[in-house]
């Protein structure tokens, strides 16, 4: 924990876990995302919504260090992420941070058993006891509702929903504090989606995770997110508490977005 500052009552005020200022990424003349600023507090879930091409994925990949922004600052726990050496940045990526890909095939090793997939991050941070790694992997498979006897099966033998749950287990096993999720429920049918969301909500609450979740599905953020950021053409057009933004949208685009949701 970085140093907080003293509040008016002399208590330590917590500082934001992730603090972003004026983040801009251009692809040549086109804008990926422009002038994005926000603070993410410990234990908070921030949803980023917007249509395809609105820059949400660009923003997420800049935050997670997959791309380098052209302008702006990103501070994690008080430290400037963009000036970290590559070794430090990658250490952060496999210990304190986690990244859940939209397609589990991007986030899993398909040729390695489920247990090996979950254990990889443990071994990457120095675990060298086979029994302990396997116990932890079994425990985590249980937490994401995968039967323990499937621990030696490869993800290619899993259904799409199971693969996504396995990817989540693999990411959370080292106890990260900050999780980036890119459309975690994309490509899953609605009943599987509902279970996954339920599971995610439980894990996020239990572990006190801070999450940045990118999605175009408003139902997902309604369930998971505390706060919402609406993006359009690379810029943030509206921010606020999730219920506030969804129930009383102010910006014309947000109103369009909310009213476009099909009612069954």
């Amino acid at each position: 924990m970085g140093a907080g500052e003293l509040g008016i009552f002399g208590k330590m005020m917590p500082q934001p876990l992730l603090s972003v200022h004026g983040l801009t990424k251009r692809y040549g003349a086109r804008i990926g995302c422009a002038d994005v600023s926000f603070d993410l507090w410990p234990g908070e879930v921030l949803g980023i919504v917007g249509e395809s091409g609105s820059g949400k994925s660009t923003l997420l990949s800049c935050l997670a260090g997959h791309q380098r922004p052209d302008l702006g600052r990103i501070a994690y726990d008080g430290a400037d992420v963009l000036t970290l050496s590559e070794a430090e940045r990658r250490r952060l990526l496999r210990s304190d941070w986690a990244y859940v890909h939209q397609n589990p095939r991007d986030g899993l090793r398909m040729g390695v058993s489920a247990g090996g997939n979950v254990g990889e991050r443990l071994m990457a941070v120095g675990a060298r006891n086979y029994g302990a790694i396997r116990d932890t992997a079994t425990d985590w498979l249980g937490r994401v509702e995968i039967a323990a006897e499937r621990i030696d099966d490869r993800p290619s033998a899993f259904s799409g929903g199971m693969q996504q749950r396995l990817q989540i287990a693999r990411n959370l096993v080292t106890g990260p504090r900050l999780v980036f999720m890119d459309e975690p429920t994309g490509g899953l049918d609605v009943s599987v989606q509902a279970r996954l969301l339920d599971l995610l909500r439980g894990l996020v609450r239990d572990l006190g995770l801070s999450v940045v979740i990118v999605t175009h599905d408003l139902a997902v953020v309604r369930l998971l997110a505390d706060r919402l950021m609406v993006m359009k053409s690379g810029r943030v057009v509206e921010t606020g508490l999730t219920d506030q933004v969804l129930d009383d949208p102010q910006h014309a685009y947000t109103q369009l977005l909310v009213s476009s949701v099909l009612q069954v």
Binding site: R90, R109, S113, G115, E120, A124, Y130, I151, D152
Partner: protein
């Protein structure tokens, strides 16, 4: 033979290889790229080892070439004859008498000494290759010492077979820094990689990489706390010389299921027999 330069390669090429060798010795276990040449033999026959040997040979050297421990197989005989013709150096089958030993897949049983050079033929120098196919990424992993993936492979072994089933090309960590593929030597030979008084050079011709272990390097075979590294061999004695300590080849002798175990190191086996040691199937016992 006057048509070729000494040891086949031209002097500038040998110089280039020697520079790579020096760098490899300075950074133990690090794969140094070099401008590998076409050699008059197919890839997979030891083009990397031959280039390293050519760069190391001097007219006063005595060369030994082994293939899977044996001096008399096609590969060993061809390479030995190649250097006899192009370098006119002395050759020997005796490990102790050789100054340069080119080897494929074995370390000789007789302990090596200071002043000897052991040259390995390496098919695939990158220990992470089958786990991570991208060369850019594996280089980055070496740079940042991200070797967790290597243990994922060992984990998979135990999960599937109940033990670390990797029996050759067993990954090692050199001087606490680089993870290295020791070429496809049996893991029985791994303990002799470390603390060895000889210079060990590794040449991969097709992949154009050279790496090295200076004398007395620290070499640790990777393992788990609860599944430690075991240098295994066939649980028999040699049927010709009776040795219980050497690495054995299993030889099928008929189509009735009969088999015999013999030392893979032919020089070691022959010298023991010359000293009077006998095994289960030695001619005079059987007769």
């Amino acid at each position: 033979m006057k048509d070729y330069n000494f040891a086949y390669l031209d002097e500038q090429t040998k110089r280039m290889i020697r520079r790579a060798l020096l760098k490899a010795l300075a950074v133990p276990g690090y794969q140094v790229p070099f401008a590998s040449r076409e050699m008059p033999m197919p890839y997979g026959w030891g083009t990397g080892g031959v280039q390293v040997t050519a760069a190391c040979l001097t007219p006063g050297d005595r060369l030994k070439v082994i293939d899977q421990g044996a001096d008399d197989t096609t590969n060993a005989v061809s390479i030995r004859r190649f250097f006899q013709r192009t370098a006119n150096v002395e050759v020997t089958e005796r490990t102790a008498e050789a100054t340069v030993i080119q080897t494929r897949h074995r370390i000789p049983e007789v302990p090596l000494t200071e002043g000897q050079i052991l040259v390995y033929q390496v098919p695939i120098p990158e220990p992470l290759r089958f786990l991570e196919p991208r060369e850019t990424e594996t280089r980055k992993m070496h740079e940042l010492e991200e070797y967790g993936l290597m243990h994922v492979k060992l984990y998979e072994d135990i999960a599937r077979h109940g033990e670390i089933a990797t029996s050759y090309a067993y990954p090692v960590k050199v001087e606490g820094r680089y993870v290295m593929d020791p070429s496809p030597i049996p893991k029985f030979d791994n303990p002799r990689l470390g603390g060895n008084p000889a210079i060990q050079l590794f040449g991969a011709g097709r992949e154009a990489r050279i790496y090295a272990l200076p004398p007395y390097s620290e070499v640790v075979s990777l393992d788990f706390e609860d599944h430690p590294f075991v240098a295994s061999k066939a649980d028999h004695c040699c049927d010709l010389c009776g040795s219980g300590r050497s690495y054995l080849d299993e030889v099928i002798t008929d189509d009735q299921g009969s088999r015999m175990f013999v030392c893979s190191d032919t020089d070691y086996c022959a010298s023991r027999q010359a000293e009077g040691h006998r095994g289960r199937l030695s001619p005079e016992r059987v007769a």
